[in-house]
């Protein structure tokens, strides 16, 4: 795959069309999707509901990842407390051996679960939150200091008040002249080809 991409590296990154409102962008995205383009993306300065579907893409699977990490956090909390406060179990990690140290506090049972709830709860939240935060950026391949789109002067308005649709050059249907013609048919405010 990667070899192929290197040999057939497209000359440009793609072509962007500028729109004035979320509604026109959405309509344009739907038309582009229906025209059979698949490597497309829409850029806006605020989240627009239904845009991912309009682009013909799937919603993110992030919630499952967060749930998984929340579960890991819960298990960590329960294990940490059960091991260190209710057992004398030795665990070997590398050259080291760590022991639990069960303590009788006020005659409570060793596995005193009501007392273990707060820490378990906090760790569940902590792990989920870390997964949500880092998941968002890692799945989006951010941080990415350079991106071809930043070469465009107009594109700096994407974070302000303009809306852009991009057809990427790696799209199998991408052909410079034809794609430009297609984009023009969507009535954008401007069209620009983006270099690498």
């Amino acid at each position: 795959m990667s070899h192929e991409q290197e040999t057939h590296r497209p000359e440009s990154y793609g072509m962007i069309a500028e729109f004035d409102s979320p509604e026109t962008l959405m309509a344009a995205a739907e038309k582009t999707r229906d025209a059979g383009y698949s490597r497309i993306d829409a850029y806006s300065s605020f989240p627009i509901e239904g845009m991912v579907e309009a682009l013909g893409q799937k919603r993110t699977g992030l919630p499952k990842l967060i749930l998984l990490f929340g579960f890991i956090g819960m298990c960590t909390g329960l294990f940490l407390q059960g091991w260190t406060a209710a057992s004398n179990l030795g665990i070997t990690i590398g050259p080291y051996m760590f022991y639990g140290y069960s303590m009788n506090i006020g005659g409570r049972p060793m596995l005193s679960f009501p007392n273990f709830i707060p820490v378990t709860f906090e760790l569940t939240i902590l792990f989920s939150a870390l997964a949500a935060f880092f998941g968002t950026f890692i799945l989006s391949k951010l941080p990415m200091p350079y991106h071809p789109l930043f070469n465009s002067e107009r594109f700096s308005l994407a974070s302000q008040d303009k809306f852009f649709l991009c057809i990427e050059a790696r799209d199998p249907q991408y052909e410079k002249g034809k794609t430009e013609e297609f984009l023009e048919g969507l009535n954008p405010d401007s069209i620009e080809e983006i270099g690498h």
Partner: protein
């Protein structure tokens, strides 16, 4: 985020509209959440210009200067404390907690408004929160920083504070997981972490806007670095909004757990006046109460100085006052129940602790507390006090003081325990006061830096809100059109 298109300003439904028909409350001039004619561009310009273009004002330098000096007071207080030890404070036996714990609980409570505004109001789809959440979240982070200092210093040897963490040590023992004080370590550190993540996540798209609007190279580079290369792709927004909503969902139980755990520091101990089940809910309500008061205390002047009347409208102040009033009533109920159960328990120590609280040597603080937290805030029943800036600002300050007094009254209960022979009296020293003053320095220094260098209003959410309102206006007109046709 999520679907907000069906919101009709449920907080104000009915009262917002004079003509009797169901108008979305933000179309009603009295209840709008931003001024006339705001567009994507004007709201972007207005907020980012404060950071990028506005000359640093004399007022900012003055405020920052005073805060920075107060911060030095904190530094000196801590250095002297580290040299001499907690003996420089007024704490004694039996009153071992003193200012450190009072201030800790107070600051943590202030932080909770940020999470409430940004998370809970997001989940219940209260759009008006949009222009205040960023500021409130920043306040949360700074307030938790201030709060965290106190228990850390109160342990006496803060350089050994890491002993509280569960790490495999050569001593062979582990933290005591059955103690509320250890729960605090987990709760506060999780709370600080999650608050920072939530705040930063929301900042990233706005930092990208700043990067794209910045003219000077240095600003472009710094904001560009912080924006992590955000470019507003639909796929990224999808992950972003999902994560943002889930973080809000996680923060909501978190914020309730944090102050509940803080209250368990008191309630789990077998002390009369502390050992009650009402503590967690009434601590949480108190936290929200003081938090909203602090948000108003800080935001009313900021709104005035930066001319943010279009973005922070009277509706925001009105709504925040209403939340404050409601929380004040919950807190008042808490005080009443404390009194009731002290006598209902029939326990002589409980009754004696309550009598001490009200008529004892610190009785003045109890009555001042009732005055500040219960009596004066009743003025908020009147609309005039909710939307007139000066009285509202004064009431918020009074609530801040009242909530501090509440924690004072609770902590001071320690001075008189079961045996008269061990009764004592607690007087804070100058070092107690200087440390407290110093944390204001830390809080306001951070706040001033935040105002100057980061967008204090959530710009992308404002744009989203404008989009929704436009959408609504459009639908609203269409809806009325059909109505007319039908009646013909």
């Amino acid at each position: 985020m999520a679907d907000r298109s069906h919101i009709k300003g449920s907080l104000d439904a009915g009262s917002g509209s004079s003509s009797g028909k169901l108008t979305p409350s933000y179309l009603d001039p009295d209840y709008r959440v931003f001024g006339d004619g705001m567009t994507y561009k004007s709201v972007t310009d207005k907020v980012t210009d404060i950071v990028l273009k506005l000359k640093t004002s004399k007022g900012w330098w003055l405020g920052f200067g005073i805060s920075f000096m107060a911060l030095q007071v904190l530094v000196i207080s801590i250095i002297y404390l580290l040299i001499k030890g907690p003996g420089i404070w007024g704490v004694n036996n039996p009153s071992m907690w003193g200012f450190a714990i009072i201030n800790f609980v107070w600051w943590i409570g202030i932080g909770h408004a940020g999470t409430l505004i940004s998370a809970i109001l997001l989940l219940v789809q209260q759009d008006w929160r949009t222009s205040i959440n960023r500021f409130a979240e920043a306040m949360t982070v700074f307030a938790v920083m201030c709060a965290g200092l106190f228990p850390l210093l109160h342990v006496g040897r803060p350089w050994l504070a890491y002993w509280m963490l569960p790490y495999p040590s050569t001593m062979g023992i582990w933290p005591q997981f059955r103690s509320p004080l250890l729960w605090d370590v987990f709760a506060i550190s999780t709370y600080l972490t999650v608050s920072v993540l939530f705040w930063y996540l929301g900042l990233v798209p706005d930092l990208a806007t700043l990067r794209d609007r910045a003219v000077k190279k240095a600003k472009k580079v710094i904001y560009g670095f912080l924006a992590l290369g955000w470019r507003g792709s639909a796929k990224h927004w999808d992950r972003f909004t999902t994560a943002y909503l889930i973080l809000a969902g996680l923060s909501t139980p978190l914020v309730l757990s944090v102050h509940s755990i803080v209250s368990l520091d008191f309630a789990v101990s077998n002390l009369p006046g502390w050992h009650t089940t009402i503590f967690p809910p009434y601590f949480v309500a108190g936290a929200v109460y003081s938090g909203f008061a602090m948000v108003l205390t800080v935001m009313i002047p900021v709104r005035h100085v930066f001319g943010l009347h279009d973005i922070l409208t009277l509706r925001h102040l009105n709504n925040m006052s209403k939340v404050m009033l409601a929380m004040g009533l919950v807190v008042a109920y808490g005080y009443a129940m404390e009194a009731f159960f002290a006598f209902y328990s029939g326990g002589q120590y409980e009754i004696q602790a309550f009598q001490n609280r009200v008529f004892g040597p610190y009785g003045w603080s109890y009555w001042a507390l009732i005055l500040c937290n219960v009596a004066i805030p009743q003025l908020l029943w009147f609309r005039r006090f909710r939307v007139t800036l000066v009285p509202l600002w004064m009431i918020s300050n009074i609530i801040n003081i009242g909530m501090w007094l509440e924690r004072y009254v609770i902590v001071i209960t320690l001075t008189r325990d079961f045996m008269t022979s061990s009764w004592g009296y607690y007087v804070p020293t100058i070092w107690d006061w200087s440390l407290y003053l110093g944390t204001f320095g830390l809080f306001f220094t951070c706040t001033f830096l935040f105002i100057r260098f980061l967008p204090m209003i959530n710009v992308f959410e404002m744009r989203e809100l404008i989009h929704h309102v436009k959408h609504h206006e459009h639908h609203d007109k269409a809806g009325h059109g059909t109505e007319v046709e039908v009646s013909h």
